[in-house]
Structures are given as C-alpha cells and as structure tokens.
C-alpha cells in the first residue's frame, strides 16, 4: 500500500525564516504511523518550532529508542543528525552526543514504554546529569507497536480496547521529574498545537534537561470509550494550569501583565517565557508547591498542562563536570588524547 509523497509545492504566500528556509524544509519522510496518530501532530509541532526558532537543521541531533514514538524523528528535519538506539538507551546516547558537541541542539524523542519501563533508569540519570536537551515523551498510555497492552503510564481504571481495567498504579513522568530534581517540566497535548509549540520553544531555549510530557493519543489502540488517554477524555479533563508564551531574545515583551497572575522568566539565551493566568495557590518555581498542587488535581482526574515547573539556576552537565568550552571535535588530537605518559601520570593519583 504505497502512499504518494507529500506534493513538493508550497503556498506562495509563505515567507522563509531568517535562514532562508521554508517550513517544508523542516519536514522529513512521509509518516508510516497510523492515520490520526497523535505523534504526527507532535511532529508537525516540532517542524513549526524549529522553523520559527530559525534552527539550522544540521545543528540538531535527533535521538530515539524503540517504539512508535521512536519512529517519529524520521518524520521531521531530514537535514539533521539522527541515531536510533537500543530500547530505552536514548538518554545515554544523548548524554554522549551532548558531551562531544556542546553546540548541538539535542532532541530525544521517546514514549511511555521506552522511557517509563525499559529505559526508566536511563531517563532518571540523564535527568540528574541535567543534560542540555529536549526530552520529549509521546505519552499514549499503551504499547501501540505490540497491539495495545497497558503501559507504565496507563491510569488505574483505564480500560483496554478489549475492555479489561488496568489495576497497577501509573508512573507519571511529571511527578517523577519533580521528585528527581528536573529543571524544566512541561506537559502538552498533541491536539493543542498552539500550546505545544510554545512549550517546545521554551524547552529548546532552556539550558538543561527539558522534560516535556505530551499526551499523544493512540488512535488505533487507545482512543475508545473507557480510555483515559483518548482524544475525547483528554479534551474533557485537560486543565491549562498556566498559559505559556514564548518571546524570542530580540523581541520586547509587550503584552500587559496582570499583577499576581502573570510571571515572566528570562532564560539563559535571553528569551523570555511569559506565564499567565497562574492560579493563586500555584508557583512554577516552587517544587514542593507544584508537587502537591499537581497531585491534588490529578487525584481528581484532571490533566494539568502547561509549563509546570522551571528552575533556571541549576547548572547543566557541562557546568557540573567543568568540561572544556570548546566542542570536542574542535580540540587538536594531542589535547584530546594526551598519550600514555599523561595517562600514567593521571593514574598515579589513584594509587
């Protein structure tokens, strides 16, 4: 069943970005995911994000593990670097890539299976290292690639397509990230691109590990009545905790700020995240407050979305490890590999 390629025509009124690239230049191969998969919407949001942030495709590394989610890097940024790792091992690769070339924009795409089951340990440690990357979990609460078993993020009481109820408690990547000390935590929904693009832009501008959990319904195995991760259920129970606006570095923050409900956070690259309609009992900078607020609301079956927690003060992996300023591949061989004499001298310290 071959599909045609997306016709190579674009709307004549669309303007290129500052690199002279069109939106279509940020696309990838035709998706082979099911028609209507939330992941394809996430892909479209990524395409728009990179286009609008004027990112040069060759300065991006796309990394993934195994699963439907992990196929998605193929569907955007054909001009970027990419590596498809073993199941759940994407965080290790991402750490390595970030260590070798600190100028790369690292994008890790994972799913609830890849990140919360087999790769849970990997996720936790990349997060502790505070690798500067976008870590995107396409969360659909089901093992879609193996035909619909419950995953580690399936909610208690959610029903499978055949009707069984899930009884095990889910792992919530947002609460997990909060408890492990993540410096940027957001949750989006594939069905709300406007919010998602703003979250992705902020995540890519954050210096550190940006965990973005995206509810991305599985249209084939988890979009039925009784599922808590269907399009319909997510729309009915979604709660936008904070409205997120991303303002690029050169642009002035002009929108009016209502005191008490609006909060602006300047990121390391000079861009600003403007959070509005923040509830009174909520503070996205206070980890314990966020934790209890989210827990209370999620307990009621609500699905809070938005930029939920942000800590710009925390140093990233390169800062903590005091690495060299330059990219490793720019270092001359003698510096990168000082020889056996230097190694011997170094090892003497351990005797």
């Amino acid at each position: 069943m071959p599909s045609i390629k997306k016709p190579p025509v674009a709307h004549p009124s669309l303007q290129p970005n500052t690199l002279g690239l069109s939106l279509r230049d940020y696309e990838g191969a035709m998706s082979t995911l099911c028609a209507g998969c939330g992941h394809d919407s996430v892909t479209a949001a990524l395409v728009r994000t990179f286009f609008e942030l004027n990112v040069a495709p060759h300065m991006v590394a796309k990394l993934s593990g195994i699963g439907c989610s992990s196929k998605t890097p193929t569907y955007f940024l054909t001009g970027a670097h990419g590596f498809n790792s073993a199941h759940g091992r994407m965080p290790a690769l991402a750490s390595g890539a970030a260590a070798a070339n600190r100028d790369l924009t690292i994008v890790g795409i994972s799913g609830d299976g890849d990140s919360l089951s087999i790769g849970l340990g990997q996720l936790c440690h990349a997060l502790r290292r505070n690798v500067r990357m976008l870590y995107l979990i396409e969360n659909n609460g089901v093992y879609g690639l193996t035909k619909g078993q419950f995953s580690a993020s399936s909610d208690v009481g959610s029903r499978s397509k055949k009707g069984e109820k899930n009884l095990q408690r889910p792992i919530d990547p947002v609460l997990l990230g909060l408890s492990l000390g993540a410096s940027f935590i957001a949750r989006g929904f594939s069905g709300d691109k406007q919010q998602l693009v703003a979250l992705l832009k902020a995540a890519l501008s954050h210096r550190g590990f940006a965990l973005v959990d995206v509810l991305s319904p599985c249209v084939t195995f988890n979009d039925h009545e009784g599922s808590t991760k269907s399009y319909k259920h997510t729309r009915a129970h979604r709660l936008t905790v904070v409205e997120t606006d991303f303002v690029p570095p050169a642009q002035e923050v002009t929108a009016q700020q209502e005191p008490g409900t609006t909060l602006s956070v300047t990121l390391h690259d000079g861009s600003t995240v403007r959070l509005s309609r923040v509830p009174e009992d909520y503070d996205p900078r206070d980890r314990s407050k966020v934790f209890s607020w989210l827990e209370a609301h999620q307990h009621r079956g609500e699905i809070p979305t938005g930029l939920l927690f942000l800590d710009e003060a925390h140093g990233d992996m390169h800062q903590m490890a005091s690495t060299v300023e330059r990219r490793l591949h720019d270092l001359p061989f003698e510096e990168l590999c000082p020889g056996s004499a230097a190694l011997e001298a170094f090892q003497k310290d351990y005797h």
Partner: protein, 597 residues
Amino acid sequence: MKPTDVSTPEYYHKVVDCQWACPAHTNVPEYIRLIAQGQYGDAYLLNRQSNVFPGILGRTCDRPCEPACRRTRVDGQPVAICRLKRVASDLREDISHGLPWPAKVKLGKRVACIGAGPASLTVANDLLPLGYDVTIFEKLPRPGGLMRTNIPAFRLPPKVLDEEIEMIVNLGAEMRYGSPVTSLAGLLKDGGFDAVFVGSGAPRGKELELPGRREGAANIHTGIDWLESVAFGHVTSIGERVLIIGVGNTAMDCCRTSRRLGGRDIKVMARKTRKYFKASEWELEDAEEEQVEIVVNHAPKSFVVENGRLRGMEFEKVEWKEDARGRLTSTTVGTVVLPCDDVILAIGQENAFPWIERELMAFDKWDMPVVDKVTFQCTHPGVFFGGDAAFGPLNIIWAVAHGHEAAISIHNHCQGIPVTERPAQGMKTVSQKMGIHQWSYSNDYNPSKRSKMTHVDLRERFKRLDIEVELGFTPEQFTREVERCLNCDVQTAFRDKLCIECDACVDICPLGCLTITPAEESEAALRERLTVPARNTSQALYVSEALPQTSRVMVKDEDLCVHCGLCAERCPTAAWEMEKFDLLLPYAGAVTGCQKP
C-alpha cells in the same frame, strides 16, 4: 460564517474552476482522465455532450477555462486544456455508437434556424433527436458560419469542420444553403414554423471613416469579409506591404493569412499598449512567430491615396497616461506615414438585422433586439436568439452555450411549458477510495511544466494556405500534460460528525488549506485566522458544522488545494473522503449527466 451547503451543485461546481469558467460547463477533469486512460473516443463524446464541437474547439476555443485553471495559481501555468481536447478529437476511434441518433418518431413541430453557425447547429443537435423538424437557412453555400469564414484553414482544417457539422446534419436537419432570410415577418407568416431561432452572428465589420477611405477602397478591406473571400477562394493574393488596423483575434487571423497570400512586410497597428490588446496572448505569440510586426501607440489618421491608388496610411503617434482609477488619457506626440499596398480593418464587428421588421419585437437603444439572458427569447414569443446575434460578438463556446439554453426554451415553447421554467442542474458524488492508499484517480502531484505546442517549420508552413500550423501534442507530451491536471472535480467531502479533531489532515496538507478553529461571525475575520490566511477572495471557504468534541469548525480554503487526497488518506475516521463530483447538466428534453458515456 454559516456552514457551507454542499447539497446543491453550486459549491462543488465552483471548485472545478475550468468547468465553472466554461460557458458550456464542459467536464474537463473527467475528459482529461479519459485521455490519460487512452479512451479518446469516450473523452470526445463527453466533450461533445456539452460543447458539441470538440475538434473545432480543441483548435480554436478562446479557452476561458485556462486562465481559471487552479494549476496556474499553483505553478504559474494552466493545464493545456484546449489542446488536450484536440488530442481526444484527433485520436478518437469510431464513436458513431455514442452520437445522438435521428428521431424515430417525429413530434410534428417545425423549428427554423437562421444561419448555419455554431449556435444554430447546437440548437439542431439538441432538438433533432427529440423529433423536431429543423430547417437551417444559410446565405452562403456551405455551413459553419464564422467557423468557416473567419477562422483560416491553417488554424482549423476544413475536414475537421465538415466532420463535426456532418454529425449534426446527419440527424436529419434540412439545410437550405444560399437562402438568406430577407424578412422575418415573412418567415413567421408563411414558413409554418412553431419556433424560430436567430443565430445569424454579428456579420458586419466595423468601418473606419477617415479621409481617403473611399478613394483607396480597392485596397482597403474589411477583416471578416476579406477572410470570408479568402475562405471561399475569391481572394488569393495581397500586396507585399500590409497594414492591419486593430489587435483583436480577427486581426491576428488577417495578418497571418496575409503572410500566406504574398504579404512580406506586415504590421499590426495598435492604438494602445500590449496590456490593452483584445487578442489572446497565444494568438499574438503565434503571429509574432510568423514575423508579423506589432506596432503600438499608433492611432489611424488618414489613408494616403495618390492617383487613385492607396500608397500608405498616416498615423498619430500617441502616448498614454493612466490615472489612479485606471482611466487612460492620450497625448499626440507626432504623425507618421507608413507606406503600404493594402490595409485590412479589423477593429471589431457588429450586429445587423436589416431583415427583422422592427414592429415584430422590441429593440434597445443600440438597435439590438431585447433578448432575455436566461431564456434567449426576444419580446416576440417563439423567436429566440443565440450566439453573436444575441448579445454581440463573443466566441464559439458562448454560441454553443446559448444554443443549449435556447433549445431548452424552444422545447418548452413547443410543448406549452413556460420558457421560464428551466430544468435544474443535478449532481452526483461517488467515493474514489479503492484501498488504504489507493484512489481511483491519479492523486500524485506531477511537477512537470506545461507542454509547448510544436508548430510546422516556418519555411514549410507558408507553402499552402491550408497547412495546419499546430502539429498537436505528441503522445509523450499529452501523457505528461494530462498528469498536470489537479482533478479538481474529485472533491474533499467532509463529515463533521466523524471528526475527532486529531489534526492529521491539517498537518499533512502540503498547501496549508485546512484549519480547525473557533467559529467566526464574519468571513473576512475567518480568512485571516487560517493556517495560511486566505486572501484570494474569489475562491470559496468551506466551513463545517460545529465539531463534536470542541465545537470548533473545520475550514478549508479551496484556493490552492491540489486534490492530492492526503487529508483523506491520513484521516482515521474517514471524516474526509475524496468524492468525484459529476455535474448533471440539463439539456432540451432530458437531463443528460456529464457521466462517462
């Protein structure tokens, strides 16, 4: 903005830009697909249903479809619709089985058609199979009207013309050649006709009354009369230096004909600049290819006649200024005399009805009969007009369209039904889905550029008057050209109740035609809110009912949709479906759908 109503043909018809623009509403995408499948005869018959003269029009049509073609907006060049029609005509197999057949039972009603041009022939084509007796009066010895007299043989071979007229005459028309009608009152009184159709064209070339006109008359010709004389072999030569006055399509035929009759230095004289020329761009190009010079900003002043012989023409050189409202004003900057042997006047033509008694019907202030735009009936019941005779000079395809409508009126009139009671257009939509990624039309976008028509070598073509200049498309050319068609009749049909708002269609659409957005009161505001703002207001927006999950609406901007079907391919619930739209056009006595014959 209210949800779009797609239950009547209007909305979908408008999406098919070519069919909407065609006065006869030819089902262009369907016949292009038939050509693609090698079914040339079927493509021919489908054309014939609506435009009656595919072979003739495939060479000479003014093609209103092409400027309207969506492909122009996508990649700058329309599909070569007109010349594909010629492909269907040239390559058709025996199609006699698909032609209308002579009536077995006669109705006993007699209809007179005045003039054997495209309008009258269309009326005859529609009425003869129903059992009417149709008599066609023609002043010339052969049928065809301006198709024979005004279109030179190097553009339209007489064989093509004869074949297509014969198809109609063979239905049993009584042809009265060499029989000009000299009195309509007489015909009505003594002819014994139940209805009369006037399709006598606009037979009078406009005159240019300037000093020297009478003295130089022997070498000053009226374009359409001169072309007619050439067509009938009465004129076989012209001087070496020829000036053509006017830049309409008749002027183009005059200059190119002159080129073949001995003209060496031929100038087409225009008062204004190219932007204001009446001739179609492609006819201008063809004339220029034949080394005809087109001279702009020259206004005729007088004919220069010496010793009773035309020596040249004097022109005023003018400059034009356009004001903010687009109005032109001219200033004369000098005069010039261009020597010449002959002048041909091609500055337009007009109607002339010296044979219609004015007391029979109302005439307007321009001395044109008052004709109803829908029924084509004048103020005398039972007398109908069509073609150039109705509203002044148009072109063949309009004459055909008028003929179909007039035939409906004549049928009504003869059956005692009010002529204002018009049969409605119908529609049929059929899903094109064949499999998960399979459609019964070629949905892949073909990036090829428009095929260029090849012409007979310049040295060859002037050897005889009737060497057809255009060679027609080669198989390589037309198999590529048919794939350029965007299949605009394969409509994106939307069922709002099925939509789960997953955004798959919005994300995949290559041209950003789709948006899911909160409903908006005004269309103008909605147009600005779309994925890509819809600024071409001549193209419609489709707006759905409120969607089930969020009560937002699905909006489609029709402007640049390439009908690739990816929205329907990526739709998990088949809320989007690709459906082929067939416009069912009413004809006299029957609703004949534009279906595959």
